[in-house]
Amino acid sequence: MADPQKPLLTVRYGLEDSWSLAVAEKAGAYAVARRALSEMQPDAVREEVKKASLRGRGGAGFPAGVKWGFLSPKEGDEVYLVINADESEPGTFKDRTIMDLDPHRLIEGALIACYAIRSHVAYIYVRGELRHSIARLEHALGEARAKGYVGDAPFGVDYPIEIHVHSGAGAYICGEETGLLNSLEGRRGEPRLKPPFPAIKGVFGMPTIVNNVETIASVPDILDLGGAEWAALSRLPGDGGTRLYGISGHVERPGIYEAPVGITMRELLDDYGGGVLNGRPLKAIIPGGSSTPVLDPARLVDAPGEDHPLHRWHGKSELDVPMGVDTYRALGTMLGTCCAIVMDDSINMVDVARNLMRFYRHESCGQCTPCREGTGWLVDILENVCRGTSRPGDVDLLVNVANNMMGNTICAFADGCAMPMLGLVQKFYPEFVEAAKHGLPKGTRHDTTTRDLLEGAA
């Protein structure tokens, strides 16, 4: 049994010049890809990934092995691997650590994944703002090409693989997989109607697998340990391995931490994050990026039925439920990108809602009326509520607008906006009602200067 505390994905992060081929290779990079391409059949690689129960790290948590199985290319089809490095979900900053600190892990993962799905070309779509990460990746690819690891015959094996970096230019919606494909084709990044799903008809009309950076970066470790053993690192069934956890906001040690799947939010906050900033009382936590409904530490899990998936945690705080794709769904939220935003008790949740809804209004691509109009309405109503100029019934109107956005659009962006809005109102209803009457209360700490905040004077 591997030691579950041992870092895998982050094992090279702390090395000096960890991003260079010389350092990475000395610490093990490319050994697994060499073995996989020379000694394993693609089917065997896919089988290990399936056994690993690797759940996609991009937000939806779909099993990667199953997704890869959806491919059924016709004669003459070119299969593409597209790696989603758009990392734009508010609160999320994990994929950037892979690209900046260990780009060769991503390239190694891409080589193995290409081989497994019988693709010869991979595109890494990086959000345009990450110029430094793009430079790191380009540099790493240059090194890997010079060694012959990427190109006509990786590791001497007659299986050509080309990997390209493609830069976005600023648009959250290009993280949605079909918006990304349009953007990659040189179009506006507007999501496409599904079906057809990318595995059937993706980029350039060809079968395409879209996976998150961290998903692909996990593949070398899976083959190294073996799928079953990697899966067993997790504390939960059907959701394997270790993963990157992020924590930001009002926390003593914000950052990225690697831990087994299934640690609790309380462990992430206290043991990794060092607790709430300046030891203040905790108000709420957004668990996995802005699209995931908020957790209220004062709320207890209500699962009295023996067959309820969360029955074991009945009566405990929401923060004590293990963090997994399925457990969090059962909790009525989502694990999302597994990057949490912590808020202390000085924060007003109406203010939080306004901040987030401004984001969604700015980023809606505008194709669908419920989304384009709904995001604007939500912000307008919230501005009024915060200012104390709202009308009776405005809180219910927030719920009404959000409900009408859900499930009525081309892509999941509208749901990703409506769900957290509904969660905030549901869990902090009195705060919304109070603000609707009088505006945001005095003492809402939104305006505090950085220095005061960090020195604990605020």
């Binding site: 110029r131 914000p254 009382p281 901040n355």
Partner: protein, 215 residues
């Protein structure tokens, strides 16, 4: 006045075209090259990109207007993006924005009177754990306070952007000694809250967040 890429950039564009099975897919990379050279995507740049990739100007314009990073008007020598999404706001991004507005004498969306800096509000830039932060041109500057921010801007004004990159720019950070390696999994009791701190927080600040315009 027509626009054309310099020979080395034009060669780069040729290389981009080999990466994709369709010429159109090279549009974003080619626009990046043009903006790097021209500073912004002018109508002449749009004409050039359309001719270079055999697209209609309408198609190119549609793409340019979709993405926030393509400047559709001239900008200052340096573009400063201040992240105002939740994680940064929780750690004082509003103060960062106000300080920049004061220093530049312009609102977010505008350009300083000396033409040196354009100020833009950004949505989450994937640096939330090092909040608050700004992006200046190609690089990030993280874990800011107002003093550090001034030091960075002073350096740019006095010694140029390369000097600032050298001294202050950051990349994704990771503390290998933090987390369970240094401290095995166990509950850490939170430090006591000082009464003064709690009182000060209750009384401080008013909520005068003006409805901020999107730029």
């Amino acid at each position: 006045m027509t626009f054309a890429l310099t020979p080395d950039r034009d060669q780069k564009a040729d290389e981009y075209l080999t990466r994709y099975p369709s010429a159109r897919a090279a549009l974003l990379p080619v626009l990046w090259l043009c903006q790097e050279q021209n500073g912004w995507i002018s109508p002449e740049v749009i004409d050039f990109a359309a001719r270079r990739l055999d697209l209609s100007t309408a198609a190119v314009k549609g793409v340019v207007t979709f993405y926030t990073m393509f400047h559709q008007a001239p900008v200052g020598d340096h573009v400063v993006w201040v992240c105002r999404t939740l994680s940064c706001d929780l750690r004082g991004a509003k103060a960062i924005q106000e300080h920049l507005e004061g220093r530049f004498g312009c609102h977010a969306g505008g350009t300083s009177t000396n033409g040196k800096f354009s100020l833009r509000k950004a949505e989450c830039l994937a640096a939330c754990g090092q909040a608050p932060m700004v992006q200046i041109d190609d690089r990030y500057y993280e874990n800011l306070d107002l003093g550090q921010l001034d030091r960075i801007l002073d350096t740019i004004e006095r010694d140029g952007i390369e000097a600032a990159v050298e001294r202050f720019a950051t990349e994704a950070s990771f503390d290998p000694d933090a987390g369970p390696k240094a401290r095995p999994l166990q509950s850490v009791p939170p430090p006591p809250v000082s009464k003064e701190a709690a009182d000060a927080a209750q009384g401080s600040g008013t909520s005068t967040d003006k409805p901020t315009e999107d730029e």
